[in-house]
């Protein structure tokens, strides 16, 4: 099993973002790192100054680097940015069909925000040049097994760690929560480095808001499921960055995948890491994503 570090989905201040990747480059046993902004194009300009250095550092650290495409391009500038990823010289992970249209016929990665739910869609993407397909977090093991048996050349990747991305909107809920219009958002999402927690009126933790994205409050942790996923033909695990010790998370998953750490020990290690939410794993078991199946 290979490990993929997904893109930072949150609005981390640029120095923190660059330092994060420097440490990943030097210390994290991950095979591939996806770099770039997925959620909101307003965050991108601040990082453009350092992204070249970040990529170089990651490559020197032996990581394969891929650039992430924006999930919901609608402005002309955003559409042009996505289109320009074709021919950028790096592997690209698409997150919508705008990017697919730009990269169809050339090798590319498919992110978990693109819907690949069945073997025929999988074959369609393979014929379009998709070399890794990260599956939607909501897919049950029964579907993953069929996709694993049906795949030809593409690697299948499963969302193994982090707050699952649940929805994307034109509306910015972070700005809305602060009573601000999206176009004058004051970058309030920068205040919530793992997302803004959303509770029910009864005080139950439920969701988290990240700009135009909504995520689960719970942190998806697949552990006991990993050996079975490997047998099904899943060859990559996706770890989604949070402010907790991601080097530690990557090391623990590396040990688990290599059979040097029991799944129960992985859970113990992760629980000690100040995760932003409680551990959940319902989706692969065909249950609500918010629940923990032990």
């Amino acid at each position: 099993m290979k490990l993929t570090l997904g893109p930072v989905l949150f609005n981390w201040p640029t120095p923190m973002w660059a330092d994060f990747y420097a440490r990943i480059a030097d210390e994290a046993p991950v095979d591939r790192v996806i770099v770039g902004e997925v959620v909101c194009s307003k965050r991108t300009p601040f990082r453009n100054d350092v992204i070249g250095e970040v990529i170089e550092r990651l490559e020197r650290g032996g990581k394969e680097v891929a650039l992430a495409a924006l999930a919901l391009p609608t402005l002309k500038r955003e559409i042009n940015e996505v289109a320009s990823l074709a021919g950028c010289g790096y592997l690209v992970e698409i997150n919508d069909v705008t990017a697919l249209a730009a990269l169809a016929g050339t090798p590319h990665l498919v992110g978990p925000l693109v819907n690949v739910y069945n073997e025929e869609t999988l074959a369609e993407f393979e014929s379009l040049g998709s070399t890794t397909i990260a599956l939607s977090p909501e897919l049950p093991l029964s579907s993953i097994a069929i996709l694993g048996a049906a795949k030809q050349q593409a690697d299948l990747e499963v969302f193994a760690f982090g707050r699952a991305p649940l929805a994307i909107s034109a509306r910015c809920y972070h700005a809305r929560a602060h009573g601000l219009p999206k176009d004058a958002c004051k970058y309030v999402c920068e205040q919530d480095l793992d997302g803004l927690d959303v509770d029910t009126l009864d005080g139950q933790s439920f969701l988290a808001v990240n700009g135009v994205q909504t995520m689960g409050f719970g942190v998806t942790v697949l552990a006991q499921e990993i050996p079975g996923l490997h047998e099904m033909g899943v060859s990559r695990l996706r770890l989604s960055p949070h402010t907790c010790d991601m080097v530690g998370v990557a090391k623990a998953y590396r040990e688990l995948a290599d059979g040097r750490l029991a799944s129960s020990e992985l859970i113990v290690k992760l629980e000690a890491m100040n995760l932003p939410g409680t551990i959940v794993n319902g989706y692969p078991h065909g249950k609500p994503g918010a629940v923990l199946v032990s």
């Binding site: 169809a104 073997e119 034109a170 609500p288």
Partner: protein, 325 residues
């Protein structure tokens, strides 16, 4: 602009046709369509009869097969496509790339529309579907302003359809897992959102709690009407404050911007609500028919009060106006 109206049942189909729909859309009684609710939808025989009724009156029938096929069961979606073709559907509305590929290869002459669930929001994405699968019309996601729609229409080689009235997804359609996070069932996999089987209303300490999958979506003081607990329309707590953090219970209504949508070059207007009753449907379709007739003949679009036909008595023009974002 063509008026495309919901037909949740055979009798709703007749109601919509009689009230002035240019086209109706419906689905089969299973998870192949995104309104897979108990008591709704059509058997293949009912669809054939519905098509006959509609065609006699000059109304088109569009069949929605717009969920994402379940792995290992894709033949269920294939069969639905075959049955829609057999019944004489004027178009089939598809979202899943696999289903789309299969339909376009096996029924070259069948008109295909791209469902809103496919979330094609840019000219490049739409052209991809047109060029690769021969899609003739795209239903645009509810994330675009009128200006953005006009730019798209000018730049794509197919018709466009936009939502005009009814329930309002605030998340990009086809890309929302909120329902399955709380209940295990989602629009993409099961054709349902916030499904009734997971809803629970309970009187507690002077208020009514409306829950979905055990999560409180809203609370209502005694005597206040309770809305259905659709996840994205709930009241939640953020930093100690209670608010409709995503959206209020409200209905989309584009009547006020009909001329702008026409000027943008939109081909068709879609009324949401296959789950609605006949009285609601007849009233909404008649009002939109009258408004469109006025617009097409150069008269001023009359102001119309939808009142109780809207959710929570509130209306919005949603993402069509930039300020909504």
């Amino acid at each position: 602009m063509e008026l495309v109206c919901p037909a949740g049942t055979p009798s709703a189909l007749r109601t919509a046709v009689d009230a002035g729909a240019d086209a109706v859309y419906c689905g089969f009684r299973d998870e192949t369509n995104a309104r897979n609710f108990p008591g709704l939808n059509f058997t293949p025989d009912e669809l054939a009869q519905g098509v006959a009724y509609a065609h006699q009156r000059g109304t088109k029938v569009l069949v929605a097969i717009n969920t994402f096929a379940r792995a290992g069961d894709t033949q269920l979606w294939h069969r639905a496509v075959a049955q829609a073709v057999e019944a004489g559907a004027d178009a089939i509305i598809v979202a899943d790339l696999g289903v789309l590929g299969w339909a376009s290869r096996n029924y070259r002459d069948q008109r295909l529309h791209l469902s809103v669930q496919a979330a094609a929001a840019t000219p490049a994405a739409i052209r991809f579907y047109v060029e690769r699968y021969g899609v003739k019309r795209v239903v645009l996601p509810r994330v675009l302003t009128v200006e953005e729609i006009a730019a798209i229409v000018a730049d794509v080689p197919c018709e466009t359809e936009v939502f005009a009235f009814g329930g309002l997804c605030v998340m990009t359609e086809g890309r929302c897992l909120l329902s399955s996070y709380a209940t295990g069932e989602s629009p993409n996999m099961n054709g349902v959102c916030s499904p009734a089987a997971h809803v629970d209303y309970r009187q507690e300490a002077g208020s009514l709690a409306a829950r979905l999958g055990g999560f409180t979506i809203d609370r209502y003081p005694a005597g206040q009407p309770a809305a259905y607990p659709t996840l994205c329309k709930g009241t939640f707590m953020v930093e100690g404050k209670a608010a409709h953090i995503f959206e209020e219970p409200t209905s989309l209504n584009v009547l006020a911007i009909l001329p702008a949508l026409k000027a943008a070059g939109v081909s068709a207007l879609k009324i949401e609500g296959r789950q609605r009753g006949k009285a609601y449907l007849a009233a909404v379709v008649r009002q939109f028919r009258a408004a469109l007739d006025a617009l097409e003949t150069g008269r001023t679009v009359p102001e119309m009060a939808f009142g109780a036909l809207t959710e929570g008595g509130r209306e919005t023009t949603g993402a069509y106006r930039k300020t909504w974002r």
